[in-house]
Symmetry: C2
Subunit: 211 residues, 2 copies
């Protein structure tokens, strides 16, 4: 088995801690029991210091010894392909898992991230609020009918959807009890707790080198 | 081989014609030489008349006889999995194709679609313009160095990226010659022309039943 390496920043300010997207890949590896190491690039000059590997200057990217890839959603699907824990082998369930993974990326996050981006930028975001309300209420209905999105058990689709929905401003938007219960179930998993603690610890090391 | 069925609306107004996302799946099937049929649901009450199959009330969804799935990005990857024409079999090239497909969904469309949505809604969208400019200029640099995104030849990643970038308001944004040449190369393909013509013809039939 090739060794997975997850690349992230060596430090971030307080607010994004616990939400930097290397957490998605760490969480997936923890769920699947796949060994991995974490390596870092400098926070300073992050917009331009790794453009040869990530054209948008973002993290994470993933190296499995053979393949190097960016986009956390792609990294998740790549890791999921190595483990039935994350991706069912039954073809119909696998297709449904792919569908909900892409839904998290392109139907939910495509609304929540720009809404949140405008909110934290202090720009007008009211134009996206109705759209977000519609998308989140539909997810609330879906989650009111099932514990996990696909196949009656946790998959990579739940991992990503929960990570998208747990962003504090999004989580606080409206009253959506089924969604809240889904997030609580997902982040109560030991694999999430480990991934989260490890990310927090890494950035604390970054604090020390900057103090 | 199971028969693919692409579901779309039976009619749309003039403006979205040629851009409804069933075109992505048609185009993929045409590139891959996979037989498919197109079936429709009513434009009227489209927000609620197929929520049991598409929780956000959108089209397309794809039925391959075994699997039924929504999200055009997921449908594309599912179709691509049936054809080396769209998805290289080499594992590194496949991972890179997945990466660029997700980049189109989650790094480009996540900015361009909300920007466009706010624009056509008449709402303030200036807060997203700088972000879009950054993303599109990075893609411009990438496309300045290569004809196709992956493996030196057309893949499903190009299909999706071109479809995301050819939206008229996005295409008209800034001066990006490499992107423009990329879009022109992609939509000059006979498979795109066939998919586009077939979508236009379908909606013309819808005109007739509504006149």
């Amino acid at each position: 088995m090739s060794q997975l390496t997850i690349w992230t920043l060596d430090w971030v300010p307080d607010r994004p801690r616990g939400f930097v997207r290397d957490l998605r890949l760490r969480w997936a590896c923890e769920e699947a029991g796949l060994p991995y190491t974490v390596r870092t690039i400098a926070f300073e000059d992050r917009a331009t210091n790794h453009l040869d590997r990530q054209p948008f200057g973002q993290v994470p990217y993933l190296d499995d010894g053979v393949v190097e890839m960016f986009e956390s959603g792609a990294g998740l699907l790549h890791i999921a392909g190595k483990s039935e824990t994350l991706m069912p082998t039954d073809s119909a369930a696998a297709a449904e898992t792919l569908q909900w993974t892409v839904a998290a990326l392109n139907s939910i996050e495509m609304v929540t991230v720009p809404w949140w981006f405008l909110k934290i930028s202090g720009a007008e975001n009211a134009g996206l609020t109705g759209w977000m309300e519609q998308r989140l209420s539909r997810i609330e209905e879906v989650l009111g009918e099932r514990e996990w999105l696909v196949a009656g058990r946790f998959t990579v689709a739940d991992l990503l959807m929960a990570d998208v929905l747990r962003v504090p401003d999004v989580r606080a938007f409206g009253h959506r009890p089924a969604t809240e219960a889904f997030i609580a179930r997902a982040i109560a998993r030991p694999a999430f707790a480990k991934a989260h603690a490890d990310q927090m610890a890494l950035f604390e090391v970054g604090d020390a080198t900057r103090s």
